[in-house]
């Protein structure tokens, strides 16, 4: 059985990617199970999705803790202590990372010893689809690595995307970009060894008083410690020559991330700005530009 785990942020397409792969493998004659996992839905929050592909009956359910293949759709998750995309990856497994960097650079930057494949899916999405749409591209990459046929992928894209994309033109662009990614990945001969499970110890849990065991939080809030700047695909940048200091962007920022400097010009808190670009759209004089974020080259990527 092949077990694949996708890591992305809510809205990037990890769930759809796992489904396109699932359908492709199903059309290729495999037994398949696919399954997304997210808590209370939130755009930008880390999510995982899973696809199991097998010739035999699948006697597993739920999360995949020992994947053969990990697909990292959002590079910043590699440094997120909660997401931990590489956890449990089997020896001999494959990691795909959506990044402009080379496999070697990626291995070094994130201390990965496993086989790494990289491709700048975001750039391909922007160039070929016009949007940073990643689901079909990630599905194509995963299909290639998992050894699923191109025809099955093509049919799966049609089947899965036609239900969610009504514009035929965009659908075709998606398929074209996906097949481009499929061809761009060099297939690997993957030989994973079954992970040697660290035996779990089953325990008896003791009584604790309600002061400890009630679902109440006694600590002060810690939400500000959770930076959201690495969710950005685009960074808003102000052109102060055009800015009239009208404060529209300050008022419209849904996150309260835009402040004003001593001269009255707005600036963003890039540690928390999620890159929604509402500011750029609302700016009456178009003084805010969007620049593609390269997290692997920026300090915010470390957050």
């Amino acid at each position: 059985m092949l077990r694949l785990r996708f890591h992305g942020r809510g809205g990037q397409g990890a769930k759809v990617a796992s489904r396109v792969l699932g359908t492709a493998a199903f059309l290729d004659g495999y037994n398949v199970q696919d399954f997304p996992l997210y808590g209370a839905e939130k755009r930008g929050a880390p999510i995982t999705a899973f696809t199991r592909i097998s010739r035999e009956n699948i006697m597993e359910r739920g999360v995949i803790s020992d994947p053969d293949i990990v697909i990292v759709i959002d590079e910043t998750l590699l440094s997120d202590p909660k997401a931990m995309p590489l956890s449990g990856l089997k020896k001999g497994g494959v990691v795909f990372v959506n990044t402009p960097q080379s496999p070697l650079e990626t291995q070094e930057r994130y201390s990965i010893t496993d086989h790494v494949i990289t491709l700048d899916l975001t750039k391909i999405g922007l160039d070929m689809i016009g949007k940073p749409v990643l689901s079909s591209l990630a599905a194509a990459v995963a299909s290639r690595i998992a050894g699923i046929g191109e025809d099955a992928l093509r049919d799966a894209l049609e089947k899965e995307l036609s239900g969610i994309i009504s514009d035929r033109g965009i659908l075709e662009k998606n398929a074209e970009a996906a097949l481009y990614c499929y061809d761009a990945v060099v297939p690997v001969q993957m030989k994973t060894t079954e992970a040697i499970r660290e035996g779990e110890n089953v325990i008896n849990i003791p009584f604790e008083t309600a002061r400890v065991s009630s679902p109440a939080i006694n600590a002060t809030g810690n939400t500000p410690l959770r930076r959201t700047g690495n969710w950005r695909v685009f960074r808003p940048i102000w052109d102060y020559d055009l800015c009239t200091r009208c404060m529209t962007c300050v008022a419209r920022c849904p996150e309260g991330c835009i402040q004003v400097n001593e001269d009255g010009y707005p600036y963003a808190d890039y540690e928390n700005c999620k890159g929604c670009l509402i500011c750029a759209r609302e700016c009456p004089v178009k003084a805010i530009n969007d620049v593609r974020e390269m997290h692997s080259q920026s300090e915010e990527g470390e957050l």
């Binding site: 489904r19 699932g22 359908t23 199903f26 037994n31 398949v32 199970q33 696919d34 399954f35 997304p36 996992l37 808590g39 209370a40 699948i58 006697m59 597993e60 359910r61 739920g62 999360v63 499970r197 035996g199 779990e200 110890n201 089953v202 325990i203 008896n204 849990i205 002061r211 400890v212 679902p215 109440a216 939080i217 006694n218 600590a219 002060t220 810690n222």
Partner: protein
Amino acid sequence: MGKEMLTGNGAAAWGVRLAEVDYIPAYPITPQTEIIETIAKWISDGAMDASFVTMDSEHSMVTAAGAASATGVRTFTATSSQGLLYGFEMIYTVAGWRVPLVMVNVSRGLSSPITLGPDHNDILAIRDSGFLQIHCETCQEVFDSILMAYKLAEDERVLLPVIVNMDGFYLSFTREPVEIPDVETVRSFLPEYQPEHAFFKPAQPMAQGVAVLGGEFYSYFKYQMHLASKNALEVYKEVCGDFEQKFGRKYRAIEEYMLEDAEYVLVMTNSFSTLGKAAVKRAREKGLKAGLLRLRVLRPFPDPDIKNALKGKRAVAVIDQNISVGKGGIIYSEMAGCLYNEINRPLLLSFIGGLGGKNISPEEFEFIFDKMTTAEDTGIVETPHLLYTENEWKEMAGLKEIAGKG
């Protein structure tokens, strides 16, 4: 149509579509919403001919569903967890009306603390209501069970509502290949409902769901529900036979997995049974004669099938994915009640596992098999054991620290 990759929710929606349901009152709740969204889209696109109404709450929703069902139209609704509890009053009421409503519950742990993962305290809360209960392990089973549920509910010997249960996330959002038959085959299995006792016809007025004062009257009606529910065991067998003939898939009130020569038996329900079956296979490879009994029909409780299947077994471990606070596993008590008067009853062990969707690891299953063989040697059966691992305890300790509980 052949096989399609469908989630449990998608499979439920297809069951409703092919059962040619007339009326669906709805109210959204995670992880059920995909069912009513799918149906709403089909109705809006003209793919399905039915009336769909979004209600103000689950209480109104269950009332509307029961009332519509009492006019003789085929009715469906779905909910989950807190939603089922919010409609709780009307669950009992509608069952007493003796109408063939079919509902889906997508299991989700109950508040507090509020959560999203599945366990069965929601569905088991309505255990005594009169609704028949079918619990599903796979997405295919969800689809099949909806068709079977209507046939069962609409039978004159039963006429009780049926609730089909699936686990949130583990089935509701998990896609598997599901065989979708054509509508003609479904019609030959489940023809249009021809109500004989509750319908709406101006020429033939009737009052339904009336009040009775006096225990002798009340007792009569309640016990009639019980007898109808007991009848459902036989009717269910007929429905299963018919279903197998039409669709080729075989169901019983219980599923026996490697059970025939088994000595040590796990009792489970719903989607986690898949994990139990894998554990049974691993135990067999190590030479232990393990087996699994999955309860598919929980109401009526299939006592005769269980007694028969567990005859001569050495030890039986019930894994309850629920907790009756202050007592332990709900199904354990039911199993104990079922087996108590058997002459050669097996040792019966109780485990609580998978609350809020917590995984049950291979080691936890090994632990259960160990406990069974130990109990056999010593004759001592301990109190209910919560399946929990050291790593999970460490994670919990971390959470407590963040919450300032240190």
